[in-house]
Symmetry: C2
Subunit: 209 residues, 2 copies
């Protein structure tokens, strides 16, 4: 244990006492922990950040941290299920008689508005944190796999052939990942919803060519 | 250190002496190590297998193992660059005037014949080993990313727009991963090349629908 570990540990202990009181007045512990984790990952890197540091920055105890998250990685994926869940709902609630890709195209505005509503700089910083760590990249790939599975299962429930449903789900995930990559690139100024539509149209043209 | 560790260590040491002589007559050390690693992963699981065990099974020293592979994970991904390399060559050598997806469709037979030439049971067992371990799944995702990058870069060199090139690369990777999944599934009896063509056609129909 180094001197700085001891200091951080002492800080965390001090903060526990303090926030035992604060917690009654601030019900947003989860959001504060997420924010503190994110700020520390940006400032000093994911690998160098400890759970006691995150808790101390949020003014909460490590015990409170572990009531909300399994580990520090978890604090960066708090919205993990939001995109697959919303995509699954859009598919389930789509009118009869339209194809999987027509459903997907109809949902771009809603997904962009609900799931990417923060400052773009937040998503750029988050992307950089994820790229810095094998475990985080693996976790993000699980999230993408969850999107594919939510779509595939939704399409099958609407009566699609299983292979066609899987293909439509993969095509959708491709449109999302390519669009988000374009949106986060340095030169991009277009809104995400515009890029989703443009990427979708290009995907159809590429497949038809 | 447990008793079995000591035994394995002693076995490995004994084998070093033995194979110092054998190595002059058996130049296929790399293949023997790959085979020994694979057999042990199947028999006792990836996590339980150690490098000294692999070396002992192959009748070689741990030092020889580390001349060929960085770690035991590496021994399962010896052909890692084969598919991206072959895909890159097919794109580079394609005649002018045909589209990215026409190039891809023309290469299915060659890729299936060259890269999936072993018994199907080998690929099924390998798939199960990879699914058993986070690090192996991450490594496989890197291989898939390398295929996308080889294709994207090849299409750009032929003059494709960068976004269209990336989309065509992703569509190709989707056709491969869905086809391989179909091929490895219990009920499948079709050759991989047939499934690649069928999945490709379905992907085009899905995109057009």
């Amino acid at each position: 244990m180094t001197f700085s570990d001891i200091t951080i540990h002492a800080m965390a202990e001090r903060v526990i006492t303090y926030t035992g009181y604060m917690a009654r007045w601030q019900p947003d512990a989860r959001e504060r922990l997420e924010r503190a984790a994110f700020d520390l990952f940006v400032e000093q890197g994911f690998a160098s950040t400890t759970v006691p540091q995150i808790a101390a920055r949020a003014g909460l105890s490590t015990r409170t941290f572990f009531r909300h998250f399994a580990d520090k990685r978890d604090a960066l994926f708090a919205d993990e299920h939001a995109v697959p869940d919303q995509a699954g709902r859009i598919v389930a609630e789509a009118p009869d008689g339209i194809t999987p890709l027509q459903i997907v195209a109809s949902g771009f505005d809603a997904v962009a508005a609900a799931q990417f509503s923060r400052e773009k700089s937040y998503y750029i910083a988050r992307h950089q944190i994820i790229q810095s760590d094998d475990g985080l990249r693996e976790r993000q790939l699980h999230t993408q796999a969850a999107l594919v599975e939510a779509l595939r299962s939704g399409f099958v429930q609407r009566g699609s052939d299983p292979v066609d449903a899987l293909l439509a789900a993969h095509l959708t995930a491709t449109v999302f990942s390519v669009s988000i990559g374009r949106w986060l690139s340095a030169e991009s100024t277009e809104p995400l919803a515009t890029l989703l539509r443009d990427t979708f149209d290009r995907m159809l043209r590429t497949a038809a060519s």
